[in-house]
Amino acid sequence: MSLVNFTTREITCKIVYYGPGRSGKTTNLHYVYGRVPDARRGRMVSLATQTDRTLFFDFLPIDLGQISGFATRFQLYTVPGQVYYNATRRLVLQGADGVVFVADSQARQLDENLESLQNLQSNLLEHGVDVRAMPLALQYNKQDLPRELILSQADLDDALNFRGVPSFAADALHGVGVFETLKGISELVLKRLAAGSTA
């Protein structure tokens, strides 16, 4: 849940990048880290295996500056995508203000995307949160791959975007769609905050 300090006028929100293994969640954070000026970001913390696969989470705090007179900071987290790391995924989701679901656009990964989306719903429910009440944005990553290997944004919307939430085509490795996705989820999270309802 977001933390708001009316005395010092500060807002801190937690955004979790979720999705199947190797869909590009950590790549999104690496790109953000590389583009944000030093003064506006903290150290990127990665709890990873020796082969650089996310073991617990990646974490990147960024300072958005003043929004409506509040110093606004976002904590960006990723979860490990592999099926057997569900316990840690559930822990990282605790207290999330918004979720970016990073799907792998490859046609052969569709089942993994669906399974991960169902897993998100189930893990949120364990925290007493209905997925329909959680600010959510979908990112269809790897859209730079050859057309015969991937599904289009429209096809992926049909398959995954049951709620009609904002969705973004992306090539996170080269930064395409990364900024748009972060902006999309930030707007949803802050709109919810402005409406005064919290998870």
């Binding site: 583009r35 903290g42 409506s68 900071r73």
Partner: protein, 156 residues
């Protein structure tokens, strides 16, 4: 050394504990890793990293305790060459909070930290307001400011 509190009621117990335990850094956070108060950190984004790690350790060891079919571990302590850390979760009327204490081993000790920690928890529990947090309101045009901020961040 700076001491800052997101929620004012945490400040006095934190200042008292820091002095008594002779702690170098103290961080008070929610179980989701949101910072509530801190002593000794200079940058907000650095304190957030420490909070994320502290909350993660408490969350993962609580799961380990569940596997062992026992209540969560009361506290964790590690001692390094120059610094030691003490990490513990505890209940308050605002829900579970986590405290991370870093001390210089030449100045303080895990014993000293533990000695005053119980009183710190009691002080926080006594100071914690029972009523909920007021609803927050952002200005209607925050989307434009958000867009400008993100553009600046990404250099676009």
């Amino acid at each position: 050394m700076t001491t800052r509190a997101v929620e004012a009621w945490t400040l006095q117990p934190l200042v008292k504990f820091t002095k008594e335990a002779e702690a170098r850094l103290v961080l008070l956070m929610t179980s989701a890793g949101q910072v509530m108060a801190q002593h000794g950190f200079s940058r907000a984004v650095e304190v957030m990293s420490a909070a994320a790690l502290g909350a993660a350790i408490i969350a993962s060891t609580a799961e380990m305790a569940k596997e062992l079919k026992q209540p969560p571990f009361a506290a964790l302590s590690h001692q390094g060459e120059r610094h030691g850390i003490f990490l513990a979760g505890f209940g308050t009327p605002r829900g579970m909070l986590v405290a991370l204490v870093v001390y210089d081993i030449e100045v303080s000790s895990v014993g000293l930290v533990q000695l005053f920690f119980e009183q710190f928890v009691a002080d926080l529990q006594a100071a914690c307001p029972k009523e909920g947090v007021p609803k927050q309101v952002l200005a209607a045009d925050f989307e434009r400011e958000l867009s400008d901020s993100l553009k600046t961040l990404f250099g676009r």
